[in-house]
């Protein structure tokens, strides 16, 4: 079956519904947010429509720059950890029997049904001094006394990797299932060890998928605002936490909107850079 490119307006009609949904639920709210980011903040009150740059000016400081930098770094770390863990895991999963695969996938999907709040509280209990995992280590004689592992950077990272891991597996799974097994077989026949075959054949063959997954997890992690609060110290709070503070607690919508717009722009910029770098790499 050959696919004809759409010719008439009617051929495009199936696109109308998704386009309308995208406009109503994404373009309009995002446009409103951009508009609000230029509004005038009424201190102690709310805001009035205007066109001022104050909100952006306030953001351009070493302090917010530092927070933005930390948020990016954190999201990149989460993305890298997730892919490093999920790639070998998913690869092994695709080599398993169908039944086993289903059990694993259902288990992973059920993690997605947990809210961020539950994940945060569960990990903060696991990392606590009074009821946490260090008590097991003490019981086994591996540690002299129980201690709290939260709040810390490692705790935030663990929580966020846990939350993003199922997404990572679900994105990688189709690509790995479709991967031609003869590729690795050929590598093995030519004398490569399974590990070598994985790194020299599987990983390069999936390069685009891996980059796409990294970007997806990065963006997903960038929006996290509960886990850094539940598991981290204030210096581990991401920009999203400060945006929430401004929007919900300070009723400073214009500043919150300006920060959000800035975050979106920087994110889009980073994604574009990655894509461009990827294209160049392909051409070379």
């Amino acid at each position: 079956m050959r696919r004809e490119p759409p010719q008439t307006f009617a051929d495009y009609s199936p696109l109308l519904f998704p386009a309308a949904m995208l406009t109503i639920f994404f373009v309009v709210p995002f446009g409103t947010m951009i508009a609000v980011s230029f509004f005038q903040r009424q201190q102690g009150g709310f805001y009035t429509p205007a066109f001022v740059f104050d909100n952006y000016a306030r953001f351009l400081s070493a302090f917010f720059g530092g927070v933005l930098g930390f948020s990016m770094m954190m999201a990149i770390a989460v993305a890298i950890c997730c892919v490093l863990l999920a790639l070998p895991f998913t690869y092994l999963l695709t080599r398993m029997a169908r039944r086993v695969q289903i059990v694993w996938l259902v288990a992973l999907l059920s993690i997605l049904s947990l809210s961020e709040v539950i994940i945060g509280f569960a990990w903060s209990t696991l990392f606590s001094r009074t009821a946490g995992i260090t008590n097991i280590l003490v019981a086994l004689g591996l540690m002299s006394e129980a201690k709290a592992l939260t709040p810390s950077f490692a705790a935030v990272l663990t929580g966020m990797v846990y939350q993003a891991f199922p997404y990572t597996v679900l994105v990688l799974f189709p690509a790995l299932v479709r991967l031609d097994p003869t590729l690795t077989e050929a590598a093995r026949t030519l004398g490569a060890s399974p590990l070598k075959a994985f790194f020299t054949v599987v990983v390069p063959a999936l390069r685009n998928t891996i980059v796409a997954t990294l970007i997806m997890v990065f963006i997903f992690a960038l929006g996290s605002y509960l886990l850094p609060q539940l598991l981290g110290r204030p210096q581990h709070w991401t920009l999203s936490v400060l945006i929430t503070d401004q929007a919900i607690y300070q009723s400073n919508m214009p500043f919150a909107a300006a920060m959000a717009v800035f975050l979106v722009l920087v994110t889009l910029g980073l994604v574009a850079l990655t894509v461009i770098a990827g294209r160049k790499g392909e051409a070379a």
């Binding site: 009150g45 306030r58 302090f63 606590s128 709040p151 210096q235 503070d245 919900i248």
Partner: protein, 359 residues
């Protein structure tokens, strides 16, 4: 196939009947008078639902739908956004003072007609919130204290002063509120180390207080926005000291948890909640009846006994015994928050505060 479809239809019918039966009381109730009342979620709302609202409905015939509101100014933002769209998620809400002042700035509150409140003369003046031109924006609902709380298993002796927050022995043991406008730690610093909250009159004074407060940072394990987060950690001893609400701590102690609330010698932080009516509400008449009911000395006494809040009416007008009054309040002069600052300097304070705790 046939059997299957019949089954499905029967099931649908049964479901519909069930649903309409469930919906019926709501329809009946809608014909009566009703009022949506916002109170802080959790222990607070539970005790209002149990001890106050059913009696109110019995006395006035007005059904109450209680709405759990979040702490801090989050509810203010929601009310404000909704009012702009002509909606009122709650008719009457209990609002803290900072939120009351911010709502005043945008005329969010419908003025209360004090002539319709019979027991108005019993109210303590400082709990009646007024617009600059004298119209009443909110009427005192309850007042509460934020005190120094400790886990009794970890601290055998109760601390006596707010200076415990600065004590190096308490490194990594404190849980404090995360916002400048609900922790009132600047006032605590000023009262404890700078001779009183008047020290915050100037920006230099405020910056000095920030500097002193920065010394507390190594002791803080948790800056909490969400009360449940700290309450849980306090009960388990994970975070054994901090600032928390006197009333809720008392309720938790009564439930057998190893926690205590102490009024430090510099005083507890006194904050209060007002009943305020959203300008988008159509239920002004019911709201006045509700507020009048809540101002009665007998109801205020019930609140003190059941919820653990301090009355907003003159103590003499209630029948609270000395012991009952001492349980919800203290003779020590309280630290009264500098509400004016959170209106005139809110963004500056917020910026400095965020830099202090995040930096």
């Amino acid at each position: 196939m046939n059997i299957n479809s019949i089954k499905r239809r029967t099931l649908l019918g049964a479901g519909l009947a069930g649903a309409s039966m469930l919906a019926m009381p709501a329809v009946l109730r809608a014909q009566d008078k009703s009022l949506k009342v916002g109170v802080y979620g959790g222990y607070f709302k539970d005790s209002f639902d149990k001890n106050i609202f059913p009696e109110f409905t019995k006395a006035t015939g007005i059904a109450v739908e209680s709405i759990a509101e979040p702490t801090g100014e989050a509810w203010l933002v929601q009310l404000e956004q909704a009012a702009r769209a002509g909606q009122a998620p709650a008719d009457v809400s209990m609002m803290s003072q900072v939120a009351m002042l911010k709502g005043q700035a945008t005329e969010l509150w419908t003025p209360i007609d004090m002539a319709k409140i019979k027991d108005a003369s019993n109210l303590l003046d400082r709990f009646v919130n007024k617009y600059p031109d004298g119209r009443v924006a909110g009427v005192g609902a309850v007042s509460w204290y934020i005190t120094l709380v400790t886990n009794t298993n970890v601290y055998k002796e109760a601390p006596t002063s707010w200076t415990a927050l600065w004590d190096p022995a308490n490194a990594d043991k404190l849980g404090l509120l995360a916002l400048v406008s609900n922790s009132f730690l600047l006032e605590v610093t000023a009262k404890t180390h700078m001779g009183g909250t008047n020290a915050l009159d100037t920006e230099e004074g405020i910056l000095k207080a920030f500097e002193k407060l920065a010394e507390v940072k190594p002791n803080v394990r948790l800056w909490y926005r969400d009360e449940a987060q700290f309450e849980q950690a306090l009960k388990s001893g994970e975070i054994p000291m901090g600032q928390y609400y006197h009333d809720v701590t008392g309720l938790a102690a009564a439930d057998g948890h190893p926690v205590r609330s102490t009024f430090p010698k510099e005083g507890g932080i006194q904050d209060s909640g007002c009943w305020a009516l959203s300008r988008a509400s159509q239920k002004a008449e019911e709201a006045h009846i509700f507020i009048e009911y809540m101002c009665q000395p007998a109801i205020q006494a019930t609140l003190s006994r059941k919820v653990g809040t301090a009355p907003t009416v003159k103590r003499e007008s209630t029948d609270l015994t000395d012991k009952e009054f001492a349980a919800v309040s203290s003779d020590i002069e309280p630290i009264v928050p500098r509400y004016d600052l959170y209106q005139s300097k809110s963004d500056w304070l917020n910026q400095k505060w965020t830099e202090l705790i995040v930096g």
